[in-house]
Subunit: 260 residues, 3 copies
Amino acid sequence: MITLSSDFGSPYPAAMKGVVLQRTDARLVDVSHAFPRQDVRAAAFWLREILPYFPPAAHLVVVDPGVGTDRAAIAVEAGEHVLVGPDNGVLLPAAKELATGATNDAIRVHEIGYENAESSTFHGRDVFAPAAAAVHESWDADRTVPEAVDGLGDVTPTGEFVDFELPEPTIEDDAVRGEVLVVDDFGNAITNVPGYVLEGLDEVRVDGRTVPAVETFAEVPEGQWLATVGSHGNVELDVNRGRGDEAFGVEPGDSVRLEL
Amino acid sequence: MITLSSDFGSPYPAAMKGVVLQRTDARLVDVSHAFPRQDVRAAAFWLREILPYFPPAAHLVVVDPGVGTDRAAIAVEAGEHVLVGPDNGVLLPAAKELATGATNDAIRVHEIGYENAESSTFHGRDVFAPAAAAVHESWDADRTVPEAVDGLGDVTPTGEFVDFELPEPTIEDDAVRGEVLVVDDFGNAITNVPGYVLEGLDEVRVDGRTVPAVETFAEVPEGQWLATVGSHGNVELDVNRGRGDEAFGVEPGDSVRLEL
Amino acid sequence: MITLSSDFGSPYPAAMKGVVLQRTDARLVDVSHAFPRQDVRAAAFWLREILPYFPPAAHLVVVDPGVGTDRAAIAVEAGEHVLVGPDNGVLLPAAKELATGATNDAIRVHEIGYENAESSTFHGRDVFAPAAAAVHESWDADRTVPEAVDGLGDVTPTGEFVDFELPEPTIEDDAVRGEVLVVDDFGNAITNVPGYVLEGLDEVRVDGRTVPAVETFAEVPEGQWLATVGSHGNVELDVNRGRGDEAFGVEPGDSVRLEL
């Protein structure tokens, strides 16, 4: 199984799928091609939240503000999974999560050379897609990465790669300073504040406004602002049947202060 | 085969797919994840129109304004098909349609307990996805629903469920009062008025405006308002290469009066 | 393998998939269902750019401004591929590209009769989907098209079909007059001007404005206008992390003059 993730919209992902299907008959599953454009942090968050729900798979990820530079292509072994994408950190939070609790809980990073690629104007299609197909075949067979990718170059273990951690909140006695990581399609502003801080609270002050802290949207009237714990375990700022980002006036990267 | 329908946009459906694929290697086919947000009626309409074109399958549906309340999860046997989703009526119009003409044309509803779910913050992922996988495996094997879903709870036949009928138009001698059920991506305003009322007519008065009643858009000039019979057999209010909803000033739920 | 392309948005493509899956268990791969509405030229361009990356397949394409008229349905043999769609030219540029370099590099066009179709209100679902399923089965078995499609009508070779060529630029000594073919989801304005005209240039005048001619976006600051060669080999007018179409004030069909 190969999952595909990108910020390409439509129809570019289809070219990647064609290239992959030239090389393998693996099942393909789209995670999303609507990730915020060139937003490594948002993609890293979503991948960390979603990929652990999949069975063992190769995960192709192309969110790549550095396309056209000489940033490396990498494959990352993580437990029963392997990820393929650009060396910009986007794979790392998911890889660490996928490795957690595995028999071998260390991630291993490999650089995928692509100096022999015939074309490299569209790395998703010309580099990452053939790499993901080759990595999948090898991984599926015996949980190894290949020594080389036909038409691209050698695959070599490396200790040098762009690491990346999602930002952590600052937790004080009676307040937490965090930030908005992403806004989902519903308009929910998902923060990096762990959900446990809301435990036992009926309300919370967010940037000076007091809103109910609830378990489900259904507890408040339509249009009511609220804070809740989302499916990813973090505090979300929402509006019942409305857009939390607009109500609270926040966007990804904005800091938020919760007084408990 | 499992079809997936929701109002989740992207990327939440991927988490459901991962959970399903942990439990079955069934083919997955997306119906839509762009149903109008929390609009049970719109989803019920589209599912009734689209699911009958599929071969026998398990249909996972999550349009669920009651998420977080204690509304039940149900599986509905319908002819050669089975549907899994929230007990809010969204499955019923499609189920009745799928059962029509089947050897056994009665639908049978089962409640799926989920009191053992480890997490239930995101019912699509934590309740409906594992339920759909288990129901599919059993249905595919011998057209039964399972007696329990591992990790959730027991599955028990029930006569108590939320029934739902799409609204019917009022047909008078020379007029029909109906309503707009949905607006499609083209801007076509699809009503609940059966197409046969336009038979033999060259024009029709809609809310006081006379427009041509045509078989195809191509019969009128670009930009022309029209009434026609859509692929679902209902009267649509359209504009050739334009948006019917904007031209006629209607949205889902609005009533329309057709004078014939 | 069957690929699916349309301008249907959601959820209409699902009805086509259901119909196809009633008739074949082929793998289905979406190319796009977000092609610009009824824009034969844009779809023809994208299909020509993307389908050649696929392994041998049947390609179902429904971008069909003439739906409801009596335009024919056709199947086009092209190398190891076969395409099915309306006879409006949308298939031709891709077909010619797919045939290029094949042992048999001539395309062969067949008309698919559909006079026996039970319904033809939605040709994608009622005509093209069953046709594509039947053509796939035959093509996959022995690289032939079927003599008839069950429920539709006979399939007969034809020399009469709507041919279509994407517009060619006019190349002069020190200037090229081309036009914008499509704008992609990133806002890149993709022209029909071949990329080689930028070779060796540091800058180019576009409609009187001088912009850098670069190999990659990363060569210029954020917000900078630029001309580059896209993944399809044509000149694109872009803005680094912005929308080229808005900056240059162009849309599909607009002419552009490049002074070299």
